[in-house]
């Protein structure tokens, strides 16, 4: 009786989520239809966004979102995982507390504050650091990526720390009893066993980077069209899906069906990117030993 009630409740919740998600997706697709009819595939492959001439190419924004997220992850991952190893494997109770609490506090700072810090400090640093490449300003894709790295660092670190501390200490002790040094134990026992959790932490960080809006908005330069997609473009102003969506053009577009559908289309593309990331995470996880560890 009790359990069947619980079962129905969970079916209900799942069903509601599915219905809601589908409704969301359907309305996004429906509202963005005009631009797909207008641009066709060029909507996602076109490099020019100029609404006055009714040109809507989203590739620069997709590119911007991917670049800033990857830069953020590439910078944050080694630091976060390194800090997590330090905290979970080398620090004892009280020291760990002193190490973790400030980092977790960083995760609670509103993103607009990070954005302001980016405007105040980071963009100048980036400008000066890369001066010999003659960037036009400090507002670049790279700046946004570095800022995002700082922002996702606490989250990734905390989750990675949890993953590592989930590895039973008896496993570490068994490795030490076989003559492993502490570092070898970390490398051969803790990290492999925590791998699924570490990957999940990184993917969550990536998702957060991809979805972050205001901080990116403030330092990315917000240039809609992109001529070149080489490494050089990292030091130029760019645009991400979120910073585009967050701009005042969203309100401007509301009166014009085609323009509005182009904006909704941005949301659809963002949703698709984040969704495929989540699915990738889901696909990857069961195969990496989480299931094996559970059984153990």
């Amino acid at each position: 009786m009790r359990s069947s009630l619980a079962r129905w409740a969970s079916y209900g919740a799942t069903g509601l989520t599915l219905v809601f998600g589908t409704a969301l997706l359907v309305s996004f697709v429906a509202q963005s239809l005009p631009v797909w009819r207008h641009e066709g595939l060029a909507y996602v492959t076109g490099s020019v966004w100029h609404f006055r001439s009714e040109q809507f190419g989203v590739l620069p924004m997709i590119y911007g979102s991917v670049v800033v997220s990857i830069v953020a992850l590439a910078l944050a991952a080694p630091l976060a995982v390194g800090a997590a190893i330090w905290s979970a494997e080398y620090l004892n109770g009280r020291n760990r507390w002193w190490f973790k609490v400030p980092i977790e506090l960083l995760a609670g700072i509103p993103s607009v504050v990070y954005g302001l810090l980016g405007v105040l400090l980071l963009r100048n640093w980036i400008y000066e650091l890369f001066e010999r490449f003659e960037p036009l300003s400090g507002d670049t894709l790279l700046t946004a990526g570095v800022l995002l790295a700082v922002m996702i660092l606490p989250t990734v670190m905390t989750l990675a720390d949890d993953a590592l501390r989930g590895v039973a200490s008896s496993q570490r002790r068994a490795a030490r009893a076989l003559g492993f040094t502490q570092a070898e134990g970390v490398l051969r026992v803790s990290l492999p066993q925590a791998a699924p959790g570490l990957v999940a932490a990184l993917l969550l960080g990536l998702g957060r980077a991809m979805g972050e809006t205001i901080a990116v908005f403030l330092v990315v330069g917000r240039q809609d069209s992109q001529a070149d997609y080489g490494l050089r473009s990292w030091l130029e102003a760019g645009q991400t899906l979120t910073s585009k969506l967050g701009s005042s053009e969203t309100f401007l577009a509301y009166g014009d069906p085609l323009h509005w559908s182009a904006i909704v289309g941005l949301g659809l593309v963002l949703l698709a990117l984040v969704l495929s990331l989540t699915l990738a995470a889901g696909r990857w996880l069961p195969e990496t030993g989480l299931a094996r560890n559970r059984r153990a």
């Binding site: 004892n92 109770g93 039973a168 008896s170 496993q171 002790r173 068994a174 490795a175 030490r176 009893a177 076989l178 003559g179 492993f180 040094t181 070898e184 051969r188 026992v189 066993q193 030993g289 094996r292 560890n293 059984r295 153990a296």
Partner: protein, 268 residues
């Protein structure tokens, strides 16, 4: 009967402790322990729960240092005459020569093969054939070969607890250790698995030095050539007496311990 025939004869002990004391931040755990463990054979350590048997065992391979919060150690511990806690002693190398078997088997979430070779792979550079040879040697040494020969690549967690314990033994034996410290290795096992391990311990004792902590007085009687009795006096663990089994069992100096252990032994 067997006990009497296997009198200790090694002139120099392989492991020795002199005036060893261990203390945690709050209190003393072991006080003034003197022990000589002769080479080869089974050296039993008996005593009631909480007396400090496991702690004493960990003193010998420096696993004590890995306790958190750390424990203080005083006194002199030697392995083959060389100080175990001396400056410049490689504790990790020491641990691969003085192996340890825990109360509960700890297998790694990997195949049986990988579990057995886990330690060797990293301590020695062996060819593929060398590894394979070591694998068979270790599993045969742990009397597990016949049971797992056809499923070496299956996950080790699929084994029964008794088999897992022997797998852990094989993993330790693969390193060809000189001493194996065993902390109540049969306490998680049923009588049949216990009998299997006991036979094994006796066989291993021909070549290896086995230090066996046990709760079970009968087990100590059956297996040990010499026994040390760790008791709690004044709330601190102390080695009350050591000796050859028969005299110690017949004429104990800490009768209350013997009573304790005997009662445990019978109601098990």
């Amino acid at each position: 009967m067997a006990d009497i025939l296997r009198m200790p004869s090694a002139p120099r002990p392989i492991l020795s402790a002199r005036a060893v004391s261990v203390a945690s931040a709050e209190r003393a755990l072991l006080h003034d322990v003197d022990l000589d463990i002769p080479e080869a054979g089974v050296f039993g350590i008996i005593g009631p729960s909480g007396a400090g048997k496991s702690t004493l065992l960990k003193v010998f391979n420096r696993l004590l240092e890995l306790e958190t919060p750390p424990l203080e150690l005083a006194g002199d511990v030697r392995f083959r005459g060389r100080p175990v806690y001396g400056a410049g002693v490689d504790a990790d190398a020491l641990r691969s020569r003085v192996g340890m078997l825990f109360q509960q088997p700890v297998v790694f979430p990997a195949s049986i093969r990988r579990n057995v070779l886990f330690g060797v792979r990293h301590v020695e550079r062996l060819s593929r054939a060398g590894l394979e040879e070591r694998l068979v040697e270790a599993l045969e040494g742990a009397a597990l070969w016949d049971e797992v020969a056809d499923r070496l690549d299956r996950p080790a967690v699929e084994l029964s607890v008794g088999q897992q314990q022997r797998l852990c033994l094989a993993r330790t034996l693969a390193l060809r250790p000189e001493v194996v410290l065993m902390d109540e290795p049969t306490s998680a096992l049923d009588p049949r698995a216990t009998a299997a391990i006991e036979t094994l311990i006796r066989r291993l004792a021909d070549v290896h030095t086995i230090v066996l902590v046990t709760h079970d007085l009968d087990q100590a009687r059956r297996l040990a050539d010499q026994v040390a009795c760790v008791c709690r006096r004044d709330n601190v663990g102390q080695v009350i007496e050591t000796g050859c089994c028969t005299e110690l069992f017949d004429n104990p100096r800490c009768p209350e311990t013997m009573d304790y252990l005997d009662s445990r032994g019978t109601d098990q």
